[in-house]
Point group: C2
Chain length 135, copies 2
DNA sequence: ATAATTGCAAATGCTTTGCTTGTGA
DNA sequence: TCACAAGCAAAGCATTTGCAATTAT
């Protein structure tokens, strides 16, 4: 059983065949697929699963904190399994490749900025867009 | 003449009546209106201006570097006049209010992170979401 | 004069939803 | 069993676009 399925059990999310397959595909995905791409991968396992189910499941998983949704440039939502520890993303503007990174110092400063402005930081989005430096 | 109109002249963007009005409305806007809201304000000046024109103009201005587009949570693009010096945004998750801020230290760290990963930083998006601390 | 711009409505692309049938616990 | 989920197609929403009429330079 994959890790997403386990989280579903823990959270009392009913497990259907379709959800199991979507859980499995996302567990095996190391990238950040959009719904269409995810649907394609899911269909390779069971071609009867509709894209509506993928949309519903992905939203369900997100609300359960199992998946994380990203709205990178491009207009389509992209998903990844919720990581154990938070990370941000650097997107290659040429290839679309996504690099994950963590910077504790930036995180700390974000909290300080929010506090200074009179707010409690609830969430944040940091995306870097860059082009590869040729060696 | 407002500052957006001036920028249009400088960049050789043809100035129609509609564009002048949109330029004026955006020049007077201290907030970050979405297209629909902008259209409403524009219509108060000339009720014959269509929303298609607002969409086209806003995109034109963005491509000319005159306006900046933001995709905050909520699904609708929001615009502001391109500021002289870059700033980021803190969005109040309760009221929707937006606070602008600058943090040189964070900017610096972003550059360093990108460089460390082998990228040249081209653009970035930093959005903080928070709730007001009661005094 | 004439290439660009507008308004309108239709089309688009992503996402959601109503409804009927199917199914997991 | 039976509340909930899936499949399908239709609807929604923000945004874009084709086309004929209009306009800025």
């Amino acid at each position: 059983m994959n890790s997403i399925e386990e989280k579903c059990k823990k959270k009392g999310v009913r497990l259907t065949d379709q959800r199991k397959i979507i859980a499995e595909v996302m567990s095996n995905s190391k990238d950040h697929p959009d719904v269409d791409e995810l649907h394609k991968r899911v269909i390779d396992v069971d071609k009867k699963i509709s894209i509506a189910t993928v949309y519903r499941t992905v939203k369900l998983f997100e609300e359960a904190g199992i998946l994380e949704k990203h709205d990178f440039k491009g207009g389509k939502a992209r998903y990844e399994q919720s990581p154990d520890e938070h990370h941000d993303h650097l997107i290659d503007i040429n290839s679309g490749e996504i690099v994950e990174f963590v910077d504790k110092e930036i995180e700390k400063l974000q909290n300080e900025v929010a506090k200074k402005l009179g707010y409690k930081l609830v969430d944040h989005k940091l995306e870097l867009y860059g082009s590869k430096i040729k060696k």
